[in-house]
Symmetry: C2
Subunit: 312 residues, 2 copies
């Protein structure tokens, strides 16, 4: 399964990059390979980072593949499988974070991963959207596509994974969601709730819908004019994105603690972010409709249309 | 001691603000008062936040006073005094963070605080400098002034507190110091190593040297022209400042965990920061002399002059 999972994630990296280059029309991905030194002293795998910046649409887009292995510190082992000792581990995954120039086009994050720790193995992942302007039809399209994907491979999981996503991407100190969510799941297959083969099929199936969930939003919004206030609000909201990544995100902290390449772990960071020293947001730039749904997550399946097609 | 410590910190807030307004010449501090709800449900104190932004010299300057009390979660009690249960606590302090426009003028951070947890009481604090351009004479002036202050009230502590500062303001994942340090100390008086009266005198004495340590640097650098590359490097280094605050800073995490006012806790955040998705820094803007001292902290007492005076 290690090999098949790694191959799937490599293939996803390629197909995502091709499609993103194509829609950007200008930016080209640069590739960097890196090696990881394991805490045991031996070679601990590595990764292939692909970075596009800045393009016509994307201010920064990173699509990373990694396959790392070695000895996992007992603290991490405890968190992942509840055992108390150092264990051998292997992790492979694909991660994507896109920060577009225009505030009309949301930031998007995707991650799919396969882990083996001691005798346990499982898949996890998710896709979530962080918008800067309230465009309910786009959020509806995004969620409808994810629901369609989930329904095809595991009916009934969409609602659960949508809730999990809302709970995970939440900033308690701000009492605010990071964005309008998506899906998030972990530990598929770990506790023998299903065989790994089925988990693999689910991940392969759902990940194949990513482009359909996101590209139509770009096509629809790429020429929409935006104001300085919208840009200011985007930069402030990107500050919250940074807060989430550094205070709460398990992927970021896992990467830093297991000696991942810092530039690759931090490709999720926006090229530019701002903070305003006020409670909430400055009233002159805040998108109140968006803030409303950030403070109270809601369903996007009925309200938004799911009628956008993937063609431009 | 509660009252006297709180009064000292209020007075420091006032005198720091007056001096900063005076040297900026344009910005005026705005004051906001806030109340804190304790986890026990009762009133838990509050604070007075003063914020100047943006002025002629300062892009953002915050000087906060707070006096909070109530019940401290057992996890925090354990960290502070090694006991395992919820305890009554009181904390009062003054914090200051200044982000100047010009990369020639360093960001500065100051904090002095008094804590009571259960039957223990102690003082802590520090002052540290985060420069963006290598100006060894300024770093020398800064450290010499702090050494003079320490020597007057507790000879021999400067070296220890300088090292403590270098160790505390360090980003392991970047293998880089936050800046050129200063002094940092904690738990003065907690373990009956000295009486609280002596700790109080030390804090009062050292804090009175803050303006002398910083204002002459402003006077010397305020008109120095800077390039776009220097500004870019400042914004990238501010990104690291954000990383430190959210990943490691105990004050920030203490504030968030004890229900402090988020806008006050986060007044340390820069108004604007950037990230570059590369290892280290982009070579076209990095100040290599500065990076050298960030990767290997050194003494600033002999090298730099301490001849700058506080007069403009």
């Amino acid at each position: 399964m290690q090999d098949r999972a790694a191959q799937l994630f490599r293939d996803l990296q390629s197909s995502y990059c091709d499609a993103l280059e194509s829609i950007d029309g200008e930016g080209v991905f640069q590739e960097e390979r890196w090696d990881r030194a394991d805490i045991s002293g031996s070679w601990g795998g590595g990764g292939v980072s692909r970075l596009l910046k800045p393009g016509r649409i994307f201010e920064q887009a990173g699509v990373n593949f990694s396959l790392v292995h070695g000895v996992l510190p007992s603290e991490m082992v405890n968190k992942l499988i509840g055992e108390q000792e150092e264990r051998e581990f292997l992790a492979t995954g694909v991660s994507l974070v896109i920060h577009p120039h225009s505030p009309h086009i949301p930031t998007i994050h995707l991650n799919f991963r396969y882990l083996e720790v001691s005798s346990k193995a499982w898949f996890g992942g998710g896709i979530d959207l962080t918008p800067y302007v309230f465009h309910p039809e786009d959020f509806g399209h995004f969620h409808s596509t994810l629901k369609k994907a989930c329904d095809q491979w595991d009916p009934a999981c969409y609602e659960r994974y949508k809730r999990w996503c809302d709970e995970y991407f939440y900033l308690p100190h701000r009492q605010e969601a990071r964005g309008v969510g998506g899906i998030f799941f972990d530990y598929r297959g770990r506790d023998n709730d299903e065989d790994l083969e089925t988990s693999f099929d689910f991940v392969k199936g759902v990940s194949s819908y990513f482009l359909e969930s996101y590209l139509p939003i770009i096509s629809r919004q790429r020429l929409t004019p935006f104001s300085e206030k919208m840009k200011r609000f985007q930069l402030l909201r990107r500050g919250r994105y940074v807060e989430f990544n550094l205070l709460y995100d398990r992927g970021t902290l896992f990467g830093l603690k297991t000696g991942g390449r810092v530039a690759s772990v931090f490709m999720s960071m926006p090229p530019e972010a701002q903070w305003a020293p006020v409670e909430g947001y400055p009233s002159d730039c805040a998108d109140s409709a968006l803030l409303e749904v950030l403070s109270t997550p809601r369903s996007w399946i009925e309200e938004g249309g799911s009628t956008l097609s993937c063609k431009e």
